[in-house]
Amino acid sequence: MEAKVQQFPPYREPEAPHGHAAHDDHGHQGEHAHHEPNFWQKYIFSSDHKIIGIQYGFTALCFMLFGFFLMLLMRWQIAHPGKPVPFFGEILEKILGSGVAPGGAISPDLYNSFGAMHGTIMVFLGIVPLAFAAFGNYVVPLMIGAPDMAFPRVNMASYQAYFLGGLVMFVSFFIPGGAAQAGWTSYSPLATSIPTHGQLFWIIGMVLLITSSLLGAVNFVVTIIQLRAPGMTWMRLPFFVWAQFVTAFILLLAFPPLEAASVMQLMDNVAHTSFFLPTGLAVGGQLAHISGGGSPLLWQHLFWFLGHPEVYVLILPAMGIVCEVLANNTRKPIWGYKSLVYAVLAVGFLSFIVWAHHMYMTGMGTKISTFFQATTMIISIPSVIILTCFFMSLWGGSIRFNTPMLFTLAFLPMFGIGGLTGLPLGFNVSDVHLHDTYYIIAHFHYVVAPGTIFALFAGVYYWYPKITGRRMNEFWGRVHFWCSLTFMNLVFMPMFAQGMAGMLRRMSDGGANYSAAVNSRAGAEVIGGLSGNMMALHVWILWAAIGLGLAQIPFIINIFWSMGHGEKVNDNPWEATTLEWQTPTPPPHGNFTREMHVYRGAYDYSAPGHASDFTPQNEPESPTAPKIVIATH
């Protein structure tokens, strides 16, 4: 192995002649010690990857909270259709007008835009920016021993595009007619037929967000390929970096087709083209005044060409975080590091050719359905390999049950449930029954909510000491964990039952009308009607969701309180091996105060013969220590 380690030429270039460096390095003008940066330069228009990471994290958490709040309002409407929302109803009516929120109740139109925006906000403004951009920005350069991202100013532009996109999405709530109503998938021709401007804002917001992701993705790939410290070979990279690497590639290559589709939908909206509008389209009983000849399925293909890889954009960084926390708190090398790496590469590759399993119900033929069914089943293999490696890593470890580890341990079965319940959706025969029901809502929320978001919580608790120099409060962390875990399951587990009973996902009254209509046929054998039990679950879910919301309060308070009052810790409080813990806390501009050389793999825990139970990656091989071959390197 040692022979493979390339010793690159000295890391830093020889000192540039005086007066030179300050002007030629376009990424860092004004960052040399000429003057202290003021507040704006330091925190708002910063090109430092750590500040940008924090900006991303803060903005994304705010959006997630906002998206969660939209969901609470929707759950109220589903549980108590047409009843005014307590307390918030009046505010809604004041802000949005009595047209969409009459008397504080949520009209079907408003419900639709909440549904569309909940999905959009959670996916594109919440989790991707938090998992990929925030953690990636803060941690990846530190982990690979780089002074910053490869293109610091592009990095800043990426955040600004994201912020702008988020702003456009947010503002769309307050325009006449409200936000987009066509679901987060924005299927045409529905998206083009709704006569409000919400969809236009949605598209413009999406184009900005896609631009942001592309800039970020290019930056991450270049950083990981080019800026690894000497000795940081590919197989010594922490798994988190691998996960981010694959994620960046997915974003880079999967997003552009959606950008193309967005441009075409924009044309459909403003230039009245017919890219996605078929001949003979009728809107409101009238033949639409369009040229026709377009294909609604084309939108679905282009959307899901992004949409499915996007699922892996959501989950892979989470898996990376889980891997770091897991290795650190089991105090042993991660089991099957190489398998993990190859599995994550395989997932990334396969994620591009499974997309049409979202489209079994569009009248696709059996041959192509079978193809996508097969690839869908194949992609579950590397996913299971990853999960298996994590479970195996627990074996024989002396596990420390701190808050990040609790969230990580919960991630494993929760993601497992999410993944396994996806199999019936991947088979087109069973998908016919389950498609567009609450079952699918439960399935992907298990992957994303107690899956990804738990991993993100773990990441926040885990890296908080590096960012602030203080640990978050353990007790309130545990309260946060146990309440979140309980309520999360109470929210989503009943949905499996509802979905299998036939509850469709997009009914603004939770199926009340539908059930009433079917059940009123006196004496008839009710097929597909929703029983009272199933309808009653809506109220349960509402209260569980409110509980879930309350469970986040300790977390929010903990974040702010611990900044000033948390337990002070040293630079490496978790006794971790990876490079981000080998810097001062918080890391200064440029990250490392000494040259970083990497001599070993990422998870060198409990090496026999070593004084402590962890060996940092930059600790040189001591000549006296016994040669230990660890299978994972």
């Binding site: 002649p17 007066g19 590639f249 084309l298 293909h301 060409f305 059996t366």
Partner: protein, 118 residues
């Protein structure tokens, strides 16, 4: 400032893998431009051939266009002497674009039995 300028200039040839010969570039560029013109001419000529149907013409024209693209990418973008890493990235990209084309078009023409397109 001026001496820093000179150190940089002096360092330039040392890091250059392929010494640049200006004249040979000029000749090569002229050759490529001529080839591109020929390819464009060929495409236009093919498009006016009366004896072929549109599918045959499209196939032939796109073949010529690919040759044209190869000239631009291979020589002007100096892709032919590029590093392996870039080939890897482009190989994946081409594979995914091909997947997008083939699978989408195939899916659009695979109907359950008993249905018709128009």
């Amino acid at each position: 400032m001026s001496d820093s300028h000179q150190t940089k200039t002096a360092a330039l040839p040392a890091v250059d893998e392929h010494p640049v010969d200006y004249k040979s570039y000029l000749v090569r560029c002229a050759a490529i431009f001529a080839a591109v013109l020929c390819a464009v001419g060929a495409m236009i000529y093919i498009s006016y051939l009366p004896e072929y149907g549109w599918s045959a013409k499209v196939a032939m024209i796109l073949t010529v266009a690919s040759v044209n693209a190869f000239l631009v990418a291979g020589f002007l973008m100096h892709l032919l002497s590029e590093k392996k890493l870039i080939y890897t990235v482009l190989a994946f990209t081409v594979f995914f674009v091909a997947g997008l084309f083939v699978l989408t078009i195939y899916a659009m023409h695979d109907f359950p039995t008993g249905t018709q397109l128009h």
